[in-house]
Symmetry: D2
Subunit: 364 residues, 4 copies
């Protein structure tokens, strides 16, 4: 009413959108029915990638804020949950694509050479913005991962690699987690003491158990000792840096501590949103990983052991990259250091008070 | 190799595709973050509608064949199953859209006036091609259902309404179902006799049941009689035409018979694909119906009882149309006439022989 | 180690679980393959209902707390999100059940009489605990909705109907929403003023628009006036009570106000979890509603217009109950009263300070 | 009516079913809310496994038939599609289970020792029935894969390993595929000639291409030659046996040929159902593989690098088994040997006549 009117077709640019499907098999006078599906599936993927990038960009902007206001954090969570929701949706697109059989694909595959999914600029942008580093990538053919992109796209990626990624911004934000130390309380001392006491008690139970035969005792004690060893890295920055060098952890030492505190005391009002941020990033990481994995299964199905359209060595590369390109595995590995809730050190009252709303409980 | 090379961006027309999102809220200097999602969701819907129309068109061409070769029927099934698979996918898009809250929508809703989903030409095409007639539509405001389309689109719809729809072609194909009559065998006489005998026996069991009190007997017998009545329409063309006039059935009398034979004897080799065609159309109909229903729930959530962007009276219209716009309810209603498999009239051997492959069983 | 060992079979009571499928068709010497699926589908539904009830019970206990600590609220949200997740899962069970065709069902249907889903005690418990009142139910045959249950189950339901439901506890909790009034600020006065000013401005724009012809002006103004009328109920308790009597709203007047404040200012730290509680209840309501709807479509497909096993008048009853048994439609209707975020009254600083964490922003 | 009446509770054995959840954490006076979810998720999995086994058993019985009637084949397909549908459903159960966080799991994990999913008898039965051989399994700890089962279960598995699995029965059935040889026509000669001609032509195009520089020519020709090499195994039983010995193929030589013919000429009426059988087995294999993969991701998330409840080395074992335990990878690899449909040798008319229904096309 107050704005110039606009119709559905114009607003959604139907002409541009629905005019962008041109079948090569038709151009070469050998129409292959399923090429339309092939195009539409890829185009809807790219539209969703645009949306995902749009959300990820906005989340990156939020994580650049320092200090970060609480409602910005809520907004970041909301948008990450949307990204998760989109990945859940598009993982189903492979079900649709698989209604195209390998034989149907062969009817037009030759016309597409050398187009390949490796040329999807948006997907490379996404990986890079989330935090996948060149050094962490599975080596693919020779040359950098972006070599299949256009020169202009390559420049953009190179520029982007210099900017802080979501992973790096998350690291900085986690490293700023308060409450870890206080005049009267040091969380890490308390946690270390608890862990050691817990292990000592468990070992005593095993040693004194009359039902266990000597070998079982030795085996169980061995297991516990090795478990206790892994905890050491948590309490010793030097040892942690070792693990980091070997690629086992990527988070900085203070960020790891922050993430652990958030996980362990997530019931505190102020930690609920940070906890969900971490959880949602793990969900997204899992979804991307699954999507890569399914993609590799589909490539196997379509091509057997043939060479992919982009000249790639096919489904095996995709399968190998699945694990390698996982982004937030540190959050998954964090569970190694969890102890049961009822054994957690109790936070001092002055601390928990700061972690809740001021007038709480108000009359409701 | 043999064809001029092409890259991913050019092949998928990335520039046109990714350049087609223009936020009105940005134009009016009041950027609303969620408008991007709103546009992308609608654009992916329209891309999928294009794909669905592409498949439905090809299925319509197949059903125009008379006689229809068996492998064409297999192809029609394959493509309908793809359509089903697409509808399963896109029903999930509402989950993504609902990550936009009503308040987020309000931030840019005013800029869209009077654009509305009612202006989606492709959706109108789809309904019409599947077989939704103007007379069977829920009346919406005044005027024909296509009044919100452009003049050119309206002409196309009017032209299309004169062409046979998938429903009508299915009807003609079903009406040509063989095996219904033979020199030595008339399926309908056999079926009618079976049904009547079955009902008579059941009634006798009730009458002679010493455990039933008189009222229970009367009630049960009443129920059986009324059930027997509904079968009459099946055996009597005149009565059937009455039901058709009242809008209870849309299929022609011979098509209904064909569909029933296919359902009852679907285990015969030659009826397996026809059976699946009918089943898949029911699946698609269910999915469209559910999608309309969910759409109405979402409209309710977004707008409460406000008026829709297209000036529509909102979610209530969508809800009411759900039932009304169901296309293949005849196939659902068909179950009324099923009887247990072990009571079906046995088909004569000469007939079943024609319904299987010639050399069968060959040595496998 | 510290506890007596237990194995998988014993822990999960595999013998009881996997021994609980007894096919009636086998008992009556007429084995029907698909009866196993029929039993398993219903048993998995009932297991999931047990889980849902377990979560709903715990959420009800939380909402009985007054005042309610913030971390309890977070826990309630977490469990409601789990309930949502379960409903998303089990809505897919109908896809599996529909692999049983109507003819397959007929092979054993007679053996089941008069067993019926109407006898599912757990589902009745769930509806009742969520807040479905007897008076709000679609009348089904004669007598109360629980008449198909055993006498003991009926007693339990009658007892439960006297307890506060989740809906009622939510109402009480919402009615306690603070921030609505303050020495210096009354939210409702501010909101009413804003709404009226907004409408007045919009009307002026229409009246002065030189491009609108007189009829269009009249029509648009009419629409705005009627929209303004619906707002009146919001600002006038007496008018609201009228709507409530007519069944249009079920929430109490203060609870409606609380819910609206939460929705409109959900970005405030302290309102984020309450906002998500409301959102998740709407999601659950939508999922139950969709499930009922799909259930009705499936019944139509299985039985046509036959009578259901429990003697019910079949799919039509299920369809009609879909709308009628919606629980939280008030939250959906609430959108009617939303205004764009940039026009919302700005909350005073003293208020927003109370709605955030005390030391915020701390150094992160 | 004709049968003794039965109610819902009795029929579905509600008492046994809903009484089978006993929380260890409650027994040990330390109730952990999420243990209920843990139990219910595992119990619903086991119920679905029972259903899947019920279907797989019936499919195995069908594939023992020799010759196999066409309608039995249709039934086998129907039941495999149901198995697929169940796997699609239960893959979603991990979404529900992941609403239990690692910390919640820790609250009762110690009570479960040494219960472990490795003790699921039904899952071992399923793998074995489908065709997973002991020799093809990833070695797990020491000893046979069934060492965690009870002695009676172990005996059953050992017995079962001597019976033909679905994979072996499929192999025998495929090996009986007719049409491969005929007085006048040998498919394999024709196929070999076509493949060689096709490769020769493609190479000539490359050699004569003035736009290719010498290195590109060499590279492309190399690629083609290596591709041609892989085809050799198809035409040479001895070479194929080599590949089989190296574990690259598991199907017998004639079965591989049968499967290829079915895939290439699937449009022939008589091959449509066999084609779908193969396709559905691939779908099921993909779903099981994905489920194993997701399971490994979840284990990683729950436990980090801790040891699993059954003493297993955790998520890494699960991940490694994913590829290794794939059953029907031969069908995936088959795509390697596909050539475009328009280059396939045309089947002689006398042959295609046998592959269709006798009176076809009849007047429809």
């Amino acid at each position: 009413m107050k704005y110039p009117p606009i119709g559905y077709n114009e607003y959604l640019q139907m002409d541009a959108l629905l005019g962008a499907q041109k079948l090569r098999s038709v151009d070469f006078k050998n129409p292959a029915h399923d090429e339309m599906l092939f195009i539409i599936v890829h185009q809807t993927y790219e539209l969703w990638f645009k949306q995902i990038l749009f959300e990820v960009d906005s989340v990156i902007e939020i994580f650049k804020l320092n200090p970060m206001p609480e409602n910005s954090l809520g907004l970041a969570l909301h948008r990450l949950e949307r990204v998760k929701s989109i990945f859940q949706l598009i993982s189903g697109q492979i079900d649709v694509l698989e209604t195209m059989t390998p034989l149907d694909f062969l009817e037009f595959r030759d016309y597409l050479y050398p187009a390949s999914g490796f040329q999807s600029f948006q997907f490379r942008l996404l990986e890079t913005k989330l935090g996948l580093k060149e050094a962490d990538r599975l080596n693919y053919n020779e040359g950098p991962f972006y070599k299949y992109l256009t020169p202009q796209q390559q420049d953009e990626i190179k520029e982007l690699l210099k900017q802080p990624s979501l992973f790096e911004l998350m690291d900085q934000w986690l490293a700023r987690t308060p409450y870890l130390r206080d005049e009267t309380f040091c969380f890490w001392t308390a946690y270390q003491e608890t862990v050691e006491k817990m292990f000592a008690e468990d070992m005593k139970v095993i040693e004194e158990n009359p039902l266990l035969n000597p070998e079982a005792k030795v085996r169980n004690l061995q297991m516990m000792k090795s478990s206790l060893e892994t905890f050491k890295a948590l309490f010793n920055e030097k040892e942690y840096m070792e693990l980091q060098k070997r690629g086992i952890f990527k988070l900085s030492y203070p960020a790891l501590h922050g993430a652990l505190l958030i996980q362990l005391y997530r019931d505190q009002a102020i930690l609920q949103t940070p906890f969900k941020i971490i959880k949602t990033l793990m969900d997204i990481d899992e979804l991307i990983t699954q999507w890569r994995y399914r993609h590799s299964l589909m490539a196997h199905r379509m091509l057997g052991t043939k060479i992919g359209t982009g000249g790639s060595s096919g489904h095996q590369y995709l399968k190998d990259s699945t694990e390698k390109h996982k982004l937030f595995s540190d959050f998954f590995n964090l569970s190694t250091f969890f102890i049961p809730r009822n054994q957690l050190p109790k936070l001092p009252k002055e601390l928990t008070k700061k972690m809740d709303f001021p007038e709480y409980p108000f009359p409701r």
